[in-house]
Symmetry: C2
Subunit: 411 residues, 2 copies
């Protein structure tokens, strides 16, 4: 056994989460390093879907809205996501999409700071956050979207005109982790509110929204939460803002009495004011099974293993970088989420060649290979094997095969 | 055999759609008259969900976004819904919720009529349409929501200040069917645009959006389209408006190059401009199976059977109305969708007593019993049996049992 293999073996032996892998369905022959984009199914999701479709939809029919708890899934699942991000019950709902929840959060924040006009965000934000912020700004005369240059410290740009700062907790591109407590404090000192995008941190980084006093947060549930393709997103609003919550997507699920069928909108109390319309129950039920798989897991164990997996990966990749002109752009130390990003001129065909060998990472334009490390189902052995494959692809030039350069629609 | 039973039997014998019932999973002992609220599962939905979850999510993982066509489901399913509502390919997408699609359609319409400020809608509209219209008006300074009194002719209220008229094709309450061609023509004559809400007509009433020249339409897919609880909704925009489509929910799915990860929003061409964020794939796949069940069915056959079922029901209910103080508020003639609404002082406990006997209709505040008649899976025999049960509940006073008056959350 090589020194690397033996180190991996001893790390796996000491892993307190190693038994969790059995909860997930992962195909044989695949090393899955893309759980930062789409988590794999928890095995229990299949039975949960069957229950929801055959028993509840098929036998219960319309009655299941009450009897199977469909109507309150936004809240019951929201509270469970809330526990993973440091929110009290009643501060989080699962609903709609990340993009739509960014829209609601920005509108709600702007309404709470009516005398201010600036939305501050990062240029290298996950793009949809910016596209939505543009949409908000364009539809609110006088509102201005100001973007910080890549790598700039948003905290230095907050001023008395800033209504709200929209920040990615972990950069989708580099994997850099922002200091939530510090940035929130500096925003609040300037009188601004914060909206944190937790897409790349929920479920894999300890988060304390209430303790820090965050105003709003949004995020998706299909990455480290493993809720399934396009599973509904979540939105959090700190309890202190609930009485003043206003957002223009005031649909019937956000009404105080949805079945009174009143012609005028009367806002629901609390976090339900951030709901809008009828939610996709089948997709929500896969998410329920995924949250079950996280039940009882200590997020500190997840974080410790996440840092260990990414550290191990970076140590093994460092020599390859020197040899093949690649560059790890993910921070060392602890300032990262659970992914490692490597810039390389041929990132696209290299990723394709890896995928052909069963090592699934992904590509982000223009030149980044991303590898996500989900502590619930990955072993150190797999990390070592993935780096072996990467070395082989780079050393052999296997990526030069033209079949690896044809761009797929989604990469 | 009674005269009624023998009439039902002969109608069933002549029914060209009778074989379609086998495509649906319906529990034994139930007569399901609530398909206008939640359609039952097509049997194929279970296998479709299994395929999507186990094979595509579980084995394909992230690759299924390309390889299983997930990324384009909004469009492929949209085009299939489009064929049911008289739209060309490329004019309809399945996405988000009805409420959110009302929001997009109203914004898009207002943007096309910048010099006009009035949204005109019906007070007895399905409430979420009004709540959303309120949200749109409140977030656009100067925009005014004007509501027509119950039963008023919206066409007489359109004037040179009206930007857009929002109309329910079939009233969720009374089942009245509006004249789409006439109202659209009168709106256009006044220079206004129209948004048609097809929630209670798509899949059961012939609709010719393109021929009539409708501007926008939205609707849900879980009623007569049987897409499953909370299945994503649809939105249609007439091709002539595509170049000018603007709406503030400009998420990454509406970007011209979503994977170029640009920091600025560049709108996609065509109908994709009405998309926003990542869609719930599992729920979309149940809808796919549901649209399969409609494939090859002539909408004219559906309409003919729908009118026959509701006519038969009303004929049988008329004597009960006289005897028990009930009143059919659904139009006779052909001016109705596929439901019959009966006003009765004790509508709530009567519906509950019927449900206890396996006859599932629903209640709408304050005093309406609604019965939906979905031609794909209902027989005339079931209609006759349902009326027998209603007669028995009313005549015996069975509804007086206190267990039938306790209100459930969703009714």
């Amino acid at each position: 056994m090589s020194a690397v293999a033996s180190k991996a073996a001893s790390l796996d032996l000491a892993d307190p989460l190693s038994s969790k892998r059995d909860l997930f369905e992962l195909p044989a022959g695949i090393i899955y390093l893309d759980g930062n984009s789409l988590g794999p199914p928890p095995k229990a999701a299949f039975a949960e879907l069957e229950q929801a479709a055959r028993r509840e939809w098929g036998e219960g029919l319309i009655r299941s809205w009450n009897e199977a708890g469909w109507w309150s899934l936004t809240d019951t699942l929201g509270d469970r996501v809330g526990r993973l991000i440091g929110a009290q019950a009643g501060e989080t709902v699962v609903t709609d999409t990340t993009s739509i929840n960014v829209f609601k959060a920005l509108h709600a924040a702007l309404a709470l700071r009516p005398e201010r006009r600036v939305i501050l965000a990062e240029r290298d934000s996950f793009p949809t956050d910016l596209y939505i912020a543009e949409g908000v700004a364009a539809s609110r005369p006088g509102t201005e979207l100001r973007l910080a240059a890549d790598g700039a410290d948003l905290g230095t740009m907050v001023d008395e005109r800033t209504a709200v700062m929209l920040i990615n907790h972990v950069s989708y591109r580099t994997g850099a982790l922002r200091d939530m407590a510090d940035l929130t404090r500096r925003a609040h000192q300037a009188g601004a509110l914060v909206v944190w995008d937790l897409c790349h941190s929920a479920g894999v980084v300890p988060i304390e929204l209430d303790t820090i006093g965050v105003d709003f947060a949004i995020g998706c549930t299909y990455k480290y939460l493993n809720g399934g393709p396009g599973a509904p997103a979540f939105i959090y609003a700190n309890r202190r803002h609930h009485d003043g919550l206003v957002q223009p997507l005031s649909g019937w699920w956000a009404h105080a009495a949805p079945f009174a069928m009143e012609s005028g909108y009367r806002p629901a109390a609390g976090i339900r004011r951030l709901l809008c319309g009828t939610q996709p129950i089948l997709s929500l039920r896969a998410l329920k099974a995924a949250l079950d798989a996280l039940e009882g897991v200590d997020i500190a164990d997840i974080r410790a293993k996440s840092l260990a997996l990414t550290r191990f990966f970076m140590e093994l990749v460092d020599p390859l970088c020197r040899e093949f002109g690649a560059r790890i752009i993910t921070p060392r130390g602890d300032g990262r989420g659970s992914q490692v990003a490597i810039a390389h001129e041929q990132a696209y065909p290299v990723i394709q060649a890896l995928i052909a060998r069963g090592i699934i990472g992904d590509f982000r334009a223009p030149d980044i290979m991303r590898f996500g490390f989900a502590p619930l189902y990955l072993s150190f052995r797999e990390v070592a094997d993935a780096v072996d494959a990467l070395r082989d692809v780079l050393a052999s030039g296997a990526w030069r095969d033209s079949k690896f350069s044809a761009k797929a629609l989604v990469t």
